[in-house]
């Protein structure tokens, strides 16, 4: 077996040194009737070529986003990632290292995490950020739990513009963790009145920006209303590129920003691994979940970085920890920070402008098709259209014509009959004039 350096002679010599006749003697504490006599009923060792052949066959049954005009978003976005990013994250020293518990020989990971935390804080307009969460949805769930701790209250109010999967995660954590959630009705156009839902029992208000249907609205009045009742505002961002152009949540009064960072540096990967971004105000840092890299000095007085404030964490605090999170999304955070460094301020702004321009152009083209209505008043790179008919059927028909036209809202809200004619459409820098023309043509044909 190509991955196992021990040869039979080595094994025998090692067994002799240990003083046992066979390896099963080392498994003596396993009840004898539980030790497997036969091999598992699975295929035997295979060479690279055979494995590659089998898996390539499976992969070929999927339609890659890059092979068709592609307009699917709703929490995961296809962006161009520079070749440098994937090369660098495959450096052995990044790829095959562990969580940086021994800082003297982990400065590479620790410094990149410190830079990552700073980038996330700057982008969101917040004071501090952690070293990443699993993804945006779990970051959002943890943000709600953190708000409950900070306010010592138990009721979270979720906007109807929150991604339905995120809502479901927050509901699951709250329900089983013993707190309450008030989830507002789906809100495609940003018309909901969330402020009237806030009272003196509310721990936090969770608002997505831009929301799951693409709508953007000013968070400042919501923040003001939340703060007046002693509640926190949690801003959720699933398309982080939007903050290249939009006013950051921190500037509008958000207390916690929970975001999905996949758009920068990371591929679609059928839903994971992604990278959760988590930022907050300095005064809440000791209630924050997750790992933190911090600056310090070494014995010679040189600047260096360590994991810090770990007295919040499970390996020290056990049942009193702020979260049970241990492994996070280190390598995806690395991809994020490398891509962000390559973009820089200038590149990020331009990238965001291109995204917005592409979405506006597409929205204008689609709205000219008879029967199609763009219902999102203000948006960044994603908007919702109303179609004459069943959205799921239209999306399936478009897929048969080789166009991935977006996400039918019914996939996320299957029990809502009033939303069956809505499609969420995303357009990023990857879309060309030809892609848009193909979409318009295919949509006209299937209607």
């Amino acid at each position: 077996m190509r991955y196992l350096p021990l040869e039979q002679a080595d094994r025998e010599a090692m067994l002799a040194r240990i003083g046992v006749p066979a390896v099963d003697a080392l498994f003596a504490s396993v009840p004898a009737d539980k030790l497997m006599k036969e091999l598992p009923d699975l295929p035997r060792t295979k060479g690279e070529l055979e494995v590659e052949r089998e898996l390539s066959k499976m992969a070929a049954r999927n339609v890659p986003a890059g092979s068709v005009p592609f307009f699917v978003g709703t929490g995961a976005y296809r962006h161009h990632v520079p070749a440098t990013v994937d090369h660098l994250i495959q450096r052995s020293e990044f790829l095959t290292s562990y969580t940086p518990y021994q800082p003297e020989i982990s400065q590479g990971t620790l410094q990149t995490l410190f830079e990552f935390q700073t980038q996330v804080a700057l982008l969101t307009g917040m004071e501090v950020a952690n070293a990443s969460m699993y993804d945006g949805s779990t970051a959002c769930g943890e943000a709600v739990l953190m708000a409950n701790r900070v306010t010592r209250r138990k009721k979270a109010v979720l906007s109807g513009g929150l991604h339905p999967h995120y809502r479901s995660v927050a509901e699951t954590l709250s329900r089983w963790g013993g707190s309450d959630v008030v989830a507002l009705d789906p809100d495609p156009t940003g018309a909901e009145d969330i402020i009237s839902q806030i009272d003196d029992q509310t721990s936090c208000v969770v608002v997505q920006y831009p929301n799951a249907y693409g709508t953007i609205r000013d968070l400042a009045p919501i923040a003001e209303a939340a703060h007046a009742q002693g509640a926190l505002l949690i801003a959720v961002v699933t398309e982080i590129v939007s903050l290249g152009l939009l006013k950051p949540p921190g500037e509008m009064g958000a207390d916690i920003v929970a975001a999905e960072g996949q758009s920068i540096g990371n591929g679609l990967n059928f839903g994971g691994p992604y990278v959760g971004l988590f930022a907050t105000r300095e005064k809440f840092v000791r209630q924050m979940p997750g790992r933190l890299a911090g600056e310090t000095v070494d014995a010679e007085g040189r600047r260096g970085f360590v994991l810090t404030l770990s007295t919040r964490e499970q390996h020290i605090r056990r049942e009193k920890a702020t979260s049970n999170i241990c492994t996070n999304s280190g390598l995806c955070a690395l991809a994020f920070t490398i891509h962000m460094t390559l973009l820089g301020e200038a590149g990020l702004r331009r990238l965001a402008q291109i995204n917005h321009a592409n979405a506006v152009t597409l929205a204008d083209q689609l709205s000219r098709i008879g029967g199609i209505e763009v219902i999102t008043p203000a948006f960044f790179n994603e908007f919702t259209i109303r179609v004459p008919g069943d959205a799921q059927q239209i999306i399936d028909a478009l897929a048969k014509k080789g166009v991935m036209g977006g996400v039918p809202v019914s996939r996320l809200e299957p029990s809502r009959n009033d939303l069956r004619d809505l499609i969420i459409v995303a357009s990023t820098e990857i879309n060309t004039d030809e892609d848009r023309a193909a979409y318009v043509k295919a949509l006209q044909e299937v209607l």
Partner: protein, 526 residues
Amino acid sequence: MAMNSQGRPTTPGAAGPAASGIETFTGHRGLDHEELLIFESGSLSKSGVDLPEPKPVKSRLNGLERNGPIGLPGLTEPEAMRHYVRLSQRNYAIDTGLYPLGSCTMKHNPRLNEKMARLPGFGDVHPLQPQQTVQGAIELMEALSGYLLELTGMKAVALSPKAGAHGELCGMLAIKAAHEAAGSKRSVVLVPESAHGTNPATAAFMGYTVRSIPAREDGTVSADAVREALGPDVAAIMLTNPNTCGLFEPEVVEIAKAVHDAGAYFYCDGANFNAIVGKVRPGELGVDAMHINLHKTFSTPHGGGGPGSGPVVLSDALAKFAPVPFVVRDGDELRLIEDISEAEARGQKPFGRLTAFHGQMGMFVRALTYMMSHGADGMRQASEDAVLAANYVRVGLKDLFSQPFGDQPCMHEVLFDDKFLKDTGVTTLDFAKAMIDEGYHPMTVYFPLVVHGAMLIEPTESESKDNLDLFIATMRDLAEAAKRGDVDRFKQAPRLAPRRRLDETRAAREPKLRWAPDAARKQAAE
């Protein structure tokens, strides 16, 4: 899971001269380069990405445009390349040396896994594409499930948990949901003292009270102690097997029976499943739920702290409480059931949803690649080699080191305590730092907590006999040095790493968690 000092922050000693005794003009030392932060070397106008002019359009941002700069520096491609390559060179990695971090399973990461995960059919598919366009991706999830079920002897699997601790949450929520469905109100979870910190953290998060079970003198949990702690208020036990002392729990079957007789469930922390793959099926031991760290046992890389993946296998009793999404097969067509009401219509009772989308697909591809490459025979051999290597290290060190639980075989990792360092003035932490100077990543230290000054060594199956021999010889040399009073070699260590010991107390007392320009820092201080 490992930590360098468990709340015992290290403080560097008095600043000495540069370890090499040689000062350089640049501060670089040969191949080891000092590297500025991007906030010091980059500029707001630079970019490593060339993008076309955006089309002129009428803004639809509704006046919510950002005013003023963000403050994000950029680097051109050559500058960025050098920055990150230089930083990477300041990391220890499996690919550079033996990484005996107990409980973390730092085995070789095959590059075929990376290649497969990057096939466009896996890496470039969207989680919300029409399901008929991702049949191969769902097929991969089904195939992975099949391998996991066969290896564990369990009935169902929930793939979506994103890491081990997330998997614990998943398994424990299934247990809580099962109790609730049966109308039983139970408030206590039993957790042995030797457990990973994630276990009590998970139980406490769900509102359970944690009742601790002491380890007995041989490092294992006795069925009697469990029986004593059981009662009508107990919902579950969370037991790691093989345990964190590197031992297989000999009474696990009896414990499972006692737990079930008391109407509770058996959650097994599968962090150490790598010792018994192809040797023992946890399902046959009476386990009701167990997470599997794909990033440990099946070698999807650790990546400096993730991403992980923590699928949970479930017994018949818990299967229907698994969260959405899950895979079903209707003839030739595979489907992901994503919605709770749709799942309920199929007779399931999901406890909810743990994450957006479907789980760590990128890790699923890597783990399946690993399993297909090894095959049934290779996986069993890997477990045996891992156990053999740990015992070889144990026997090679046992006369100089101290085994807290007597002279007995271990599984895939061997645990020592610091008794052998008594009166030497050298602590476990000092010993670990001296290993760095010898070119090794230290073992896990100060974990498990049940042992004083713990040193948990997991060599894995990826090391040749020569490598193991050199490691043993090095560890012996260090132990002898400590015993003969060569304290400087330990207290000054590491001397040959990119950094000497770092002041963790200062980092925690005056947290600097992000870069800020000096002026802003001064203002903040005022």
